[in-house]
């Protein structure tokens, strides 16, 4: 029955053809599903793309990261940092601050005026522990040239006479300032915070919703991370390589003052660090090795981290209870860790420190 065989062959062939096509289509679908979207070049929206820039300025390295930024915004941020450095540098002979320190008077541009006013304001708030005229003392100890030495008591007494921010005469209307002889201004304790605030303003003016800048260890953020979570910021371990714990922040800053950052040892092995008590003229030794402050602005964080370090845990706790517009993590020289109430549920120890005791400073 040749004809029926022929028909069955034809039917069989067509059936095979059809099913191969179907199979190929199904196979392609399965492969696509298995591979997921990542093999296709469909990246998430441009608005999530981070842009990074590294700037070497103010005697440190700064990393700027912004999400959804155009390169031109990053350039603007970098320019602004260098502009501020040009105005505020104490050692650069072309800077405005250098000129004022030489002539002891002069007119100042808006940024320098802001720093002067901030210096006076925070000097008042911290009862003089943050003092922008402390430079000659720091210089005498060798921290500006790395020729470290312990000055004799007479030199220190002499220098202390010219350390008093209250003697800065600032005329707001004329934007002019004058200093008594022997006095010098230095904004090293505030400039990075001011710069960080300025950079984040550039970012937010450009419509950026998510950014983080790390200016030599000062971490300042804008908004939350693109995925809506908070930024995780580690608190450096004063003793070693890693961090002792983390804080979660959105739009706030974490600025740390640590004795471990810059110090020298004398022949007996005694440690002298760069955070000075402007009242005694000696490195501040109130029992703390590190203070990390969480604030809304960089400049306030800078002012507080230095002064709380000088205060020590008791006085710093009282200061916090009085003001309550910041939070802080304190590490004592003995290794005890304290946080203010607002960080009770926020701060967490890293794995290596998981058994550590946390003392909460309450209202």
């Amino acid at each position: 029955m040749q004809s029926s065989n022929y028909f069955s062959e034809v039917r069989h062939k067509r059936y095979a053809e059809v099913s191969v096509k179907k199979f190929l289509i199904i196979w392609l679908l399965i492969i696509t599903l298995l591979s997921g979207c990542s093999t296709q070049a469909s990246y998430s929206g441009v608005h999530e793309e981070p842009v990074s820039e590294t700037v070497f300025a103010m005697d440190t390295v700064m990393q700027l990261t912004a999400y959804g930024a155009e390169a031109v915004v990053m350039d603007e941020a970098k320019k602004r940092i260098l502009e501020l450095e040009g105005l505020l540098s104490t050692t650069n002979t072309d800077s405005e601050v250098y000129g004022i320190n030489q002539k002891k008077s002069g007119r100042v541009s808006p940024d320098t005026a802001s720093l002067i006013q901030a210096g006076i304001k925070y000097g008042d708030i911290t009862n003089g522990l943050l003092d922008v005229t402390v430079y000659p003392l720091v210089r005498e100890w060798g921290f500006t040239t790395n020729n470290y030495r312990v000055p004799d008591k007479d030199s220190i007494s002499r220098l202390l006479k010219n350390i008093d921010y209250k003697k800065i005469r600032f005329n707001k209307a004329e934007a002019s300032v004058s200093l008594p002889d022997g006095m010098m201004m230095d904004f090293g304790s505030l400039a990075k915070g001011y710069a960080g605030d300025a950079v984040l303003k550039i970012f937010s003016d450009a419509g950026i919703k998510s950014a983080m800048v790390n200016l030599g260890g000062n971490v300042q953020t804008l908004g939350k991370k693109p995925d809506g979570s908070c930024w995780r910021v580690g608190i450096k371990n004063p003793e070693g390589e890693n961090y002792i714990g983390t804080v979660l922040i959105d739009g706030r800053t974490v600025i740390t003052s640590g004795g471990y950052e810059r110090y020298f040892k004398d022949d007996n092995g005694k440690v002298y660090w760069h955070i000075f008590d402007p009242v005694t003229g000696y490195p501040a030794k109130a029992g703390l090795i590190s203070v990390s402050v969480v604030t809304d602005t960089g400049i306030y964080g800078e002012a507080l981290s230095t002064s709380l370090f000088i205060m020590g845990i008791k006085e710093a706790s009282e200061f916090w209870r009085k003001h309550r517009d910041f939070e802080a993590v304190f590490i004592s020289e003995k290794g005890s860790v304290y946080v203010t109430e607002g960080l009770r549920d926020n701060f967490s120890f890293s794995e290596d420190y998981s058994g550590h005791t946390l003392t909460v400073i309450e209202q």
Binding site: A16, I30, L34, V51, S52, V219, R232, G234, E351
Partner: protein, 123 residues
Amino acid sequence: MKRTKLWSLIFFMILFGSAIALLKPVKSSGTTAKIYRDGVCVYSVELSGVKAPYTLRFKGENGYNTVLVENGRICVCEADCPDKICVHQGWISESGAPVVCLPNKLVIKIEKGAAQDIDGVSQ
């Protein structure tokens, strides 16, 4: 099509399909890629947590490098340095040899076992 040919075809498609599925990057947890510029770590990312690929542009002394970050792996996808050795190195996903662009002083390293994804350290 003959039956045996059809089955061979099916067999090879399954084989090929499995190969593609297996070549997908392994989701290893705790794999942190760090990018260094001039010896300083400027960016850090937990590769297993990357949801969608994205690029990072780094400007160096002698030009730029565009780094492509995907789930579980990272590479330099574009650069304007003369040799483009960094681009030819391709993807890295395990700790081992880093991707290096010497003219731009860019280094990408993978470090295993970072406990948490930290965005920055305050010091």
